[in-house]
């Protein structure tokens, strides 16, 4: 049996590691780029990031003041659903309660406000907050939880959606992605370098969801298994690096962590494209819990693993 108390303890610990340190792929990238960045200002920005993470980890404190909107990607193994104390409803309740508890315990910045009145309950709780996404994992004997803190930069200005004419083709997609990146990074509008997620095709919400998940759930250096889509990822990365926008838009070789693209078929009258620019403050952590009480930390979420 997976008790709600055990789940709450595990998720609380997960939020701490989520906020105190960067994922390994991001940290390694920043260090490597810092060592080879030739722009003086670019190097200074990367050094400030690395110093801040080292200092925050040592003090057990969040490394960025924007501790994000709290998001859960939950993988429910079919073989473990019956083992969850109180069932799924109790699990969701636990995830909501933990969000408020860690907000005061860690502490996290209370970011969730009413869109019109701007009322802030100071708990990171409200309609839609925390954001909980669920996927059923056939035959899996574990509950997998990925915590992601999504900052205001990517959510506020770092995202764009459009529907291009159906025959705009690859060049139209490149134009939209490059133009969006310029508008979002130039003059320091958002915190670059970014991990650029691109959603290609799908319906309105599938397109934007793919862009966001490609940016936040796939590791630096990952390529789409479809070789044509992988080629387009490389093309877009080359395009963005040619802009030399650099860290904080101040110029340099480090303009992006990577470009990740996800594709879904779309309506024949459309060519939807979405872009999501994840900032350098990536907070992504994953854990698996088994019915026998075992807890396993994972470097990556399995959320993006393809079914076929």
């Amino acid at each position: 049996m997976l008790s709600q108390q055990a789940i709450a303890q595990t998720v609380t610990a997960l939020w701490k590691s989520n906020q105190y340190d960067l994922p390994e792929d991001f940290k390694t990238f920043l260090q490597e780029q810092h060592d080879k960045e030739t722009s003086e200002l670019g190097k200074a920005h990367l050094k400030a990031n690395l110093d801040a993470v080292a200092s925050a980890s040592a003090r057990s404190m969040p490394f960025c003041a924007d501790t994000g909107l709290l998001t859960y990607y939950v993988g429910l193994g079919t073989a473990v659903i019956g083992e969850i104390e109180g069932g799924y409803q109790a699990l969701e309740q636990t995830l909501r309660e933990v969000s408020a508890e860690v907000t005061s315990e860690i502490p996290l910045r209370p970011n969730a406000v009413h869109p019109l009145t701007r009322h802030n309950p100071n708990t990171n709780q409200g309609p839609g907050c925390p954001d909980i996404k669920v996927r059923v994992l056939p035959d899996a004997d574990y509950l997998e939880i990925t915590n992601v803190a999504v900052g205001g930069g990517p959510e506020l200005v770092g995202s764009k959606f459009t529907v291009l004419p159906p025959t705009a083709g690859e060049k139209g997609v490149r134009k939209f992605v490059v133009e969006s990146t310029i508008n979002l990074v130039r003059l320091g509008a958002t915190c670059s370098p970014n991990l650029v997620g691109v959603g290609l095709g799908g319906t309105f919400e599938t397109c934007t969801r793919m862009a966001k998940e490609a940016a936040i759930l796939r590791p630096v250096g990952d390529r789409n298994p479809d070789s044509e889509l992988a080629r387009l990822e490389n093309q877009l990365m080359d395009d963005i690096l040619r802009l030399k926008l650099g860290p904080m838009g101040m110029g340099g070789a480090t303009s992006a962590f990577d470009v990740h693209l996800e594709m879904a078929y779309c309506h024949m009258a459309t060519l939807p494209v979405a872009v999501y620019l994840q900032c350098a403050a990536m907070r992504r952590t994953t854990v698996r819990m088994y019915a026998d009480g075992r807890v396993e930390s994972l470097p990556l979420s399995s959320w993006m693993e393809r079914d076929s």
């Binding site: 404190m61 003041a65 130039r186 320091g188 509008a189 802009l243 110029g251 403050a281």
Partner: protein, 203 residues
């Protein structure tokens, strides 16, 4: 590029030696401000009490930030304090507050178009952060006060004392120059071929 330490009270002369691109650290009193906080601060009557308090302290710096603060039983502790984009606050509000409080330093993130002209006219500077996130909170030696807590902890105004807060980078200096403007000219030249290939017109 040179490194400069500014200590309150900051003289006009010290500000005039700064050039866009210089690295700056700063000591003295500052207050955090976001868009809703500015509305309160510049309100002719509602903001008067807080404005008087800031003047008494000699606060000369506004920091565009929604910090992460831990409130203890005796005192509040600054956990993380990173700048937010200055354009989120809005230029009119910033200019009004600078005028009302005779501020010398504006700290934020990114370029705010037209602010370089204002800095030239009023003799103040716009500094931007190093990095996306940074160690600035560790430079806060004391949390003095919190105004308008009903706005929510991040949107409230936090008045703090800092020692060698930095490194910060001069964006707009007192001579009408903006670091980002110079960088943008280089960007347009470097990216011209790709922009042309993809048919992108910059505004």
């Amino acid at each position: 590029m040179k490194s400069v330490h500014l200590k309150s009270p900051i003289s006009g002369e010290a500000l005039r030696t700064l050039d866009a691109g210089d690295s700056v650290t700063i000591s003295g009193y500052l207050f955090t401000c976001r868009s809703l906080t500015y509305d309160r601060l510049i309100d002719p009557e509602g903001g008067e009490g807080v404005r008087n308090r800031l003047k008494e302290l000699g606060a000369e710096t506004v920091f565009h930030s929604g910090p992460l603060v831990k409130e203890g039983p005796d005192r509040a502790e600054m956990i993380a304090m990173v700048p937010m984009p200055s354009w989120l606050a809005g230029r009119e509000k910033i200019e009004k507050a600078v005028g009302l409080l005779d501020l010398k330093v504006i700290i934020g993130k990114g370029m705010l178009e037209g602010l370089e002209e204002f800095c030239k006219r009023s003799g103040c500077v716009h500094l931007v952060c190093a990095g996306n996130y940074n160690e600035y909170a560790s430079r806060v030696t004391r949390v003095i006060d919190c105004a308008w807590p009903e706005l929510g902890r991040p949107e409230a105004m936090w008045i703090v004392e800092v020692d060698a807060l930095g490194p910060l980078i001069v964006d707009a200096d007192t001579k009408g120059k903006s670091l980002y403007q110079g960088i943008d000219e280089e960007f347009k030249a470097d990216a011209a071929a790709l922009l042309d290939e993809l048919g992108i017109d910059l505004d």
